[in-house]
């Protein structure tokens, strides 16, 4: 009598061989384990990009038009100089000589210069929303 079929009466020899092969798979792809050993310790404080204004996201876009009593800055945790404008109108000319208008009630721009907080530290920078 085959000792394998006697000790595991519900598994065929083919099933046992397949299970053994699957058990070896982690040994065949060890790169993920070794990659951890190669990494150097480093701070994990997040990126140095400024934060968006969190409560501007009422439209799911972190954007809003410029206007009285509305947030002038597009970055959060910020102190410094700002300028904001909207509702531009003007004209221009394309490469074919066509006169084309630019601007609409939602054409807005802004600039921010000063200190902002990112990656758990104060930083200096100038940014524009265009």
């Amino acid at each position: 009598m085959d000792p394998l079929t006697q000790s595991h009466p519900h598994h065929s020899r083919r099933e046992i061989l397949r299970s053994s092969a699957l058990a070896l798979l982690p040994l065949a792809i060890p790169s993920a384990n070794y990659a951890l050993h190669d990494e150097q310790p480093m701070p994990a404080n997040g990126g140095t990009d400024p934060y968006p204004i969190p409560w501007l996201d009422k439209n799911g876009s972190h954007n809003q038009p410029a206007g009285a009593n509305l947030e002038p800055s597009h970055i959060y945790h910020f102190k410094g100089r700002v300028a904001r404008c909207s509702t531009f109108t003007g004209m221009g000319t394309d490469d074919q000589g066509n006169r084309i208008a630019f601007g609409s009630p939602t054409t807005d721009y802004g600039v921010m210069q000063g200190e902002y907080w990112a990656a758990r530290a104060a930083r200096q920078g100038t940014f524009t929303h265009i």
Binding site: G47, D49, P50, Y51, P52, I53, W55, L56, D57, S61, H62, N63, A66, G67, A68, N69, E71, P72, S73, H74, I75, Y76, H77, F78, K79, G80, R81, V82, A83, R84, C85, S86, T87, F88, T89, G90, M91, G92, T93, D94, D95, I100, A101, F102, G103, S104, P105, T107, Y109, V111, M112, Q113, E115, W117, G125, T126, F127, T128, H129, I130
Partner: protein, 143 residues
Amino acid sequence: MFRGPAVPANQIHDFHPPIAPSGLYWVVPVPERGLTISPDGNTFTLEMQNVAVVDQPRWPALDSIATPARMTFKMVWKSTGEPLKYDDSSKHLRFTGTRASCQLEAEVEVPSIGFSWKSDPLNASKCDFAILGEEVNGRYYDS
């Protein structure tokens, strides 16, 4: 940009930087000396050359195709002297400044379709709302 009246159906180009992975919305860093502020703080001049932007003619449609483009511009804010102050403790926002005027001249180029456009000179443009001043928000609001 619009062919005809500025309504969505007439929009033929819309230039802006891509939205950042962080959600930062159409915001790009300004190079050193890109922004100059007059000694009295009443005039801000922002000038940038060849800013990497995209042209999304069908913006804000979610499937609006974004074509790489370049933008060069000069924008000048001038204070009118009329004071303006917002202070909203619920939003941790305080702005102190003045109303302003603002004018813009710009050039854009979409190399892949051979399109370019140049605005009329700065003093030919106008905007209906502008402010300049100083702001604190977020963690700086209570400091």
